[in-house]
Symmetry: C2
Subunit: 407 residues, 2 copies
């Protein structure tokens, strides 16, 4: 889909504006009319008294938010698990209130949509160390949570968590609902890490797996790139080795980190289109005459990041970076070893313009699975939004996803 | 050239190690034998009592270093000007001492090489606000320089400078040597900005221009990406709005910035090859058990950045970022307007794997010049080093460059 078509498309435009924290400025009465036919979504909380982590550490009093769309059938065989990306929450579809924003994959999930809630019971869970720690609609456990043993936030005493730990919390929740097998697991980006780890760790649970803008492992390049996201926070003296109060977050560092993440997830085409809208010029007066001033495109990027940072926690960002850096499907010695246990039919949907998780990563996992005799499909998204194709433009492959799930 | 071939090639390996600050660890007696046949290079200093900048501000007591290889012919018609990249200095070829490191384009410049010093008088000049402000072999004027009016370093009171100002200092030096026309101007990356601005601003001086890993302008995408380089420094409280002493530089921020720049200039192929050398694994013990520890690939990247940062100044990095952000060839209202004055025959040599100045940037300038009826050639470097192809692997196009200069 071209950028111009995209910006003419009301639903996607809304999603894009939501992503950039612009929604409150532009959301009109018209937008509150039924763009989705899902009933209002209810956020719920799942609690675990204790969780032993992949690295051997134990945390107590674990709480995560979750939500579901559609109806669980009698034999509990119609469950599609949606695993969320780095900066998202379990809010994948529908609205909490008639005026509220739709979930990030509302174009994909709902009655009659590709992930059809009149057929499937679709469930989604906030991860541990969720980035949006201070959002009213997110429940998570992480360094910003009060440590029951000390009565103070964990800070860096919170143990390192992995993608496997996110998966295990989801599995405990599903088991508490009497579910013992999925119809499919579907995730974008960091959600794809959880999806393929599910297929490797619990193959009897997972007959179908869809990886969108995904990877089977974090290679050395990506581990280093993720570390660049952490740098601005760690350099900010208000970070104070993770020991800060909510009112004194390392906000400069957090905003710097989000500026980098935002650009990493997009493309020159998107920024240059935005530059045209802003009237970007190289020789803008303010930056030419004052080193303290910035170009219009930089001010725009910063403003979006500042808006998004308000509900986020800096330590949670560092722990999410770490979970992603430690990721290899199966959490074994190699990707080949991890993928050898996969029984699921798999579908990989990378974005051809992705600069964050480049298509070679999905291609590599797809190739290994094919060599293992697993049925695997590979179909790229071809738009100009880079990594965000997988969030904002996923409906381009709605038919493929629908067919994959029905087979 | 493949990475394996590259790492087997002694000269390029030396250049690579130099770039990563590893040279002191690995430079052997063998390497001090004559790999270049240039005589020892002498660094010189050019001074201007006063310089009026493109933005209208004036600075006094301007000093820059320069060096030359080969012999100026009688009618002063054999001058090839080399303009340097962001983190480099005027040290483009040869050695200052028998044991010292060779210049960054030594593979290209020397007797019998593509830029043949037995034919051309090759000259190169340290830019204003040069990054390596504390290097013994660099002379520059910028925020780390003492302001003659106050007796203290300029800091952020130093005016904003542009690529045009670098060009104008070079022109003054050339004029002081009695030179009134170039045979060619050749530059990589930020050096390409200077080269094409020369061709636009002073078309009578420039019959030939070579842009390596270059661009005709800084688009909105690149301006935003450059700002990410500035972020870690600005977030570091020791930066203190640019007011710090040399002994108390914002070193955490500067190192973070260099880590980002280094990765931006390379590729997944390079990092993943380096990861193999280091034994990189996702589930390394230290980062899995301690959020304060890092993966081997991150420690490697940091260590290289720490080594390089020792001779650099944080404010100079910010001013270089700004000069690049303000860049459009000709420093007029648009690239088309700027290129309309170019008379030079031009050659663009981008790198097909470049993630920093992507090939579309060189392609765009090349296309406009062709439409203007200027003779322009375009030939990409096809190796796996990304942006650094243009520094470390330029000899791949040595024949093309040699032919271009001789016509």
């Amino acid at each position: 889909m071209s950028l111009i078509t995209l910006l003419q498309n009301r639903t996607l435009k809304t999603a894009l504006l939501t992503f950039y924290g612009l929604l409150s400025l532009t959301f009109s009465a018209a937008a509150s009319s039924a763009e989705t036919t899902l009933p209002l979504v209810k956020k719920q909380v799942f609690s675990l008294p204790s969780l032993t982590l992949f690295n051997g550490a134990t945390i107590t009093n674990v709480n995560v938010g979750w939500e579901a769309y559609g109806t669980l059938n009698e034999d509990k065989s119609n469950v599609v698990l949606i695993t969320h990306y780095f900066s998202a929450s379990s809010h994948a579809a529908g609205r909490y209130t008639p005026e509220g924003p739709v979930g990030y994959w509302d174009a994909l999930i709902g009655p009659g949509k590709a992930i059809d809630t009149s057929v499937y019971y679709v469930i989604s869970v906030d991860t541990l160390v969720n980035l949006n720690a201070y959002s009213d609609t997110v429940t998570t456990t992480g360094p910003a949570t009060v440590n029951p043993d000390t009565g103070k936030p964990w800070g860096l005493d919170f143990p390192v968590v992995t993608i496997r730990d996110f998966v295990n919390v989801q599995k405990s929740l599903l088991e508490s609902l009497g579910i013992s097998k999925l119809h499919a697991v579907v995730g974008a980006s960091m959600g794809s890490m959880q999806a393929i780890d599910w297929a490797s760790a619990y193959p009897e649970w997972v007959p179908r797996m869809i990886s969108v803008i995904g990877t089977g492992e974090t290679d050395a390049w990506t581990t280093a790139a993720l570390e660049q996201w952490a740098t601005p926070i760690k350099v900010d003296s208000r970070w104070n080795n993770g020991d800060y109060s909510i009112d004194e977050q390392p906000m400069n560092g957090l905003v710097g980190s989000l500026m980098l993440i935002t650009q990493h997830a997009l493309t020159p085409e998107f920024f240059n289109q935005q530059g045209k809208t802003l009237g970007y010029q190289q020789l803008e007066d303010a930056p030419m005459h004052d080193i303290r001033q910035n170009h219009s495109i930089v001010n725009w990027l910063r403003s979006r990041a500042e808006s998004r940072a308000q509900q986020m926690d800096a330590n949670h960002l560092l722990y999410l970076v770490r979970a992603c850096q430690l990721f290899v499907a199966g959490h074994k010695g190699s990707l080949e070893q991890g993928l050898s246990s996969v029984k699921a039919k798999t579908l990989f949907v990378p974005a051809s313009t992705d600069l964050l998780l480049m298509p070679y990563l999905a291609q590599n996992a797809h190739d290994i699975l094919n060599q293992n005799g697993v049925s695997s499909q590979y179909q790229a998204l071809d738009g100009e939004l880079g990594h965000l194709e997988g969030v904002l433009d996923i409906s381009e492959q709605a038919n493929l996803i629908s067919e994959f799930l029905s087979q």
